[in-house]
Assembly symmetry: C3
Homo-oligomer: 296 residues x 3
């Protein structure tokens, strides 16, 4: 029997994820902002002027909107990296943020651009390429629309940079209060392109997981979230015939030795202390990971 994320998530999971139970994070400045903040997440490098052009367009159309760089220079066209970055930042997003994701391997093809609005009024604009489902899998949006109203776009629309010509002007207009219905037709969450990975499948005494990203230090992130291990006792973790002792911190093994632990992303990770697990064991995204449980 496998258990899927939607079934497994509880209200307290979701509260932890969005951080809305966070007493120390107060409601912010009581004065009403005139425009919403725009948060950028892209795979453009610092030398390119692509991020700069996004900002010029945003400023021209919404000069009062604060623009926040969540991250740039992500591994090119890597949807898992973008999704995990957004997932990790979700609970810190300002309540009325308009998030723009420009990691877009399908630009120029007929892939859709979609806009999701969540219960806390956070909006996410992204190509429909699985990032949204992967990053926000827990959280069904209050409203979901295709970004299809060409009157909102910058003309001429380039075939290679929809970030500047579609996503930025639409984000600017949302930041200034444009009605959500202007975007285009409503969509069903279940019709979006699925995440680039399935979640780990749990059986009675084991779980089948998978590597979803090798980070730049060679640590291997998996599709198994920490909270799903509650009530389980991990006996061992295996990948490519190699055993990774499950520990709570790096220092529990000798330098150069392999280990498995819950990393800062809140996911099961395979690593090598002071080394690169990806290089050492030639493991990359897609390799299966087996987790065996003992009796609690």
């Amino acid at each position: 029997m496998t258990v899927r994320d939607k079934d497994r998530s509880t209200p307290s999971d979701r509260a932890a994820w969005t951080g809305r139970s966070d007493a120390a994070c107060d409601k912010g400045d009581p004065r009403v902002r005139r425009t919403r903040p725009v948060v950028l997440l892209t795979d453009f490098g610092p030398q390119s002027a692509y991020v700069g052009q996004l900002k010029l367009v945003l400023h021209r159309l919404a000069p009062q909107a604060p623009v926040l760089d969540l991250a740039h220079d992500l591994p090119p066209q890597n949807r898992a990296a973008a999704a995990l970055t957004l997932e990790g930042a979700r609970r810190f997003l300002p309540r009325n943020a308009v998030v723009v994701v420009v990691v877009d391997p399908g630009v120029g093809s007929s892939r859709r651009i979609v806009a999701a609005r969540y219960a806390d009024d956070v909006a996410v604009l992204a190509p429909d390429n699985g990032i949204l489902r992967a990053a926000c899998g827990f959280e069904e949006p209050a409203e979901l629309r295709a970004v299809a109203n060409a009157a909102l776009f910058l003309k001429p629309v380039s075939t290679v940079f929809h970030g500047r010509d579609i996503l930025a002007p639409v984000a600017a207009k949302l930041a200034r209060g444009m009605a959500w219905a202007e975007l285009g037709p409503a969509l069903s969450w279940r019709h979006l392109v699925p995440a680039p990975w399935s979640d780990a499948a749990f059986y009675g005494d084991s779980a089948d997981a998978e590597v979803i990203l090798a980070d730049r230090f060679g640590n291997l992130l998996t599709n198994l979230r920490a909270e799903w291990l509650r009530g389980h006792r991990v006996l061992q973790v295996r990948c490519r015939r190699r055993r990774f002792p499950f520990v709570t911190h790096y220092e529990a093994v000798a330098p150069g030795d392999p280990l498995a632990l819950i990393g800062s992303h809140g996911r099961l990770e395979l690593a090598v202390r002071d080394g690169s697990a990806a290089e050492r064991f030639a493991i990359s995204a897609g390799h299966p990971v087996r987790v065996d449980f003992g009796i609690r």
Copy 2:
């Protein structure tokens, strides 16, 4: 017979370039901003604190001015890279932007610093080293002045960082509404240092062009702008005895094969599909490019 840019440009060229015919790009927030935005373009890397120091000075002198990063970490002291980045962003600049260019191989010498004001009230501050003429060759400024009034500068003026001590304080003061005449004496556009390249020369059945920049992917940008090819049918493109078939997109040739096309900069480019034309053929800035035309 050669034809030079100024003669060749038409009002519609200029409209395309500045984007002022751009119906989708509306006039922005109607509320008057109290200070103008400052746009930064530099070759400083992210580790250096040079960009940070520019921003500290701007904030001290014009705390209300939005500061937008167009690009940093450009190839060091490469005037062509700076000019092409500014050219590509020109039509997205906010109408009252103050652009600061700090790509300054001549700092410490007696090179001038100049300020250009355009018809749409965009201002550009830059060392007089050819970048302005290269980036804005089409567009004669409404007003051009030497930045010579030392009372505006931060003292003591460093010999190695005029960006911080001259350009930033002057930009801050312009952003806050300082009269243009405070800058220094008026200059003639024709007396500026010319662009680091000549434009391509057109003959009846051919054009003599030149490589002006190898980008970081090894694509070779030339001094031949796309709009100058209107009415011509390109038969072949040659550089260093090598033929580059002229195509409309990369996929028209096999992986590893050379090609010529109109790239995202709106210029003739030489490239290798999935490879580096610069490395493969040992071509760099300055190499001549010959374009042959057929009968239309």
Copy 3:
């Protein structure tokens, strides 16, 4: 006899350092800002979302506060690099800036976080790891406190990212005018962790200095500040049995030759013209440098 920094600094030293005698740097916009600017200095790379998460938290808690990036991507956990960057920027800081330093090799241990307020109302928040004493050695703060009031922090406080969970929310609250006494108990400046280096020791005819940082070009910065050489005539500079002629600019020696000079940090530096002194002579932080003086 050695002379220590505190004894050696004069009021005019301090004025030069904080730039408060700077006539060209006017008082800025007369309109009162509603929140103070926050200035960030970290060793996080551009791909990481760590800087982005800092900015999200700052925006959530102080949406009106301008956020200025002084520098990021500093050499990881290198306290000298952080201190020298802060020292070099000190005189450009806005008068009411809240500076946040996240270079934190001791995160997770019991090291303190401290907050210093200076006479010009600049505040610096940093781990108590020597950076503050190194960067601001001249300038005793008007007030110094431990950041210990857990009610100000973001919960749960991560064990690996106090920048986001402690420094950012505290900075946001200071930016919005929180009383200084809310932070925690007062501390004595002399009880902070000392700088990662001692200042150069001066004797009658020589000084014992030390390399404190190899920058990314291989130039070697020392713990000997330029102003301490007033009244001395440098005869020679030696390190690892190698002589470095003391000159005023790089061009005074042939390409590839070693030299010593006062660099842009206002410190004695060892360098190789058009080369890396660190690589060429295998010199790194900690190596002693001997400076011999002649009769003036």
